[in-house]
């Protein structure tokens, strides 16, 4: 099961993930965030993993997909509050080379304050 809390501030979408992100739960997340990203002309997506207990390669695919879309708007993806397991997936997939990594949402906001 995956619960998602979504917050939009200006052109930044925050998604706080709770539960498990896999091929089954990623679909709803993809549909919801894609629709909101279009409607609000989002440039940056902040994914908060603090309460995410599990992720597999489906999550990596989702992040690459969002990055490819936001890159076209000169935006990007910020990943924050990564557990050891998710950090390992980020490293082995090379997501750390295309996404900004932050300790928490405050640090993500500091980063966005600089780039926006």
């Amino acid at each position: 099961m995956l619960n998602v809390q979504i917050l939009i501030k200006k052109n930044v979408l925050y998604a706080r993930l709770e539960g498990e992100l896999d091929q089954y739960t990623v679909e709803d997340l993809r549909v919801r965030t894609t629709e909101l990203m279009e409607r609000y002309q989002i440039r940056y997506l902040v994914l908060n993993f603090q309460k995410l207990q599990f992720m597999d390669s489906s999550g990596v695919g989702y992040i690459i997909g969002r990055y490819n879309r936001l890159k076209k708007r000169a935006g990007g993806v910020v990943l924050c509050s990564l557990s050891e397991h998710i950090w390992k997936l980020v490293l082995l997939s090379g997501l750390n080379k295309i996404c900004a990594i932050a300790k928490n949402e405050d640090e993500a906001n500091e980063y966005l304050g600089v780039v926006l």
Partner: protein, 139 residues
């Protein structure tokens, strides 16, 4: 002492979390770190997702088979489908290989299984199905 279990379940994506929870329960007595448990759950997640999505195209009328075996600290995970099979296993195991070119597929399933396991064996025959056998030494 050897411990063994096997199960079969419908080829739906909803059942992937069931398979992950099963392996975690199977290993409950082993006193593993959360990190190791997550690695093992990820191996199961990737293998079972492949069987459901690629082997059976999410047909709930078809069955995925999973067995878990633990002997002398060695965990063996076997996931089998009797689905379409993989024409070129070597190619399928390459990082970033994907049969679907939409933007949201990382093509990292086999790579992640290989990194988190000690060995990964893939036996596949077109039209007959695929068996993935992963082993991992615990502790």
């Amino acid at each position: 002492m050897k411990n063994y279990m096997e199960m079969q379940f419908s080829a739906t994506l909803k059942n992937v979390s069931f398979a992950r929870a099963t392996v975690a329960c199977f290993l409950l007595e082993q006193d593993l770190t959360l990190n190791v448990i997550n690695e093992i759950k990820t191996i199961v997640s990737e293998a079972v997702t492949n069987a459901v999505v690629h082997g059976y195209a999410e047909d709930p009328g078809k069955l995925v088979f999973m067995s878990l075996s633990l002997e002398e600290g060695k965990l063996t995970i076997t996931v089998r489908d009797d689905g379409v099979g993989i024409p070129d296993v070597k190619k399928a195991r390459e990082p970033l290989f994907t049969t679907r070119e939409d933007e949201d597929r990382a093509g990292l399933g086999f790579t992640i299984m290989e990194i988190f396991s000690d060995s990964v064996e893939v036996l596949s025959e077109v039209g007959r199905g695929t068996t993935v056998i992963c082993t991992k030494m615990l502790g």
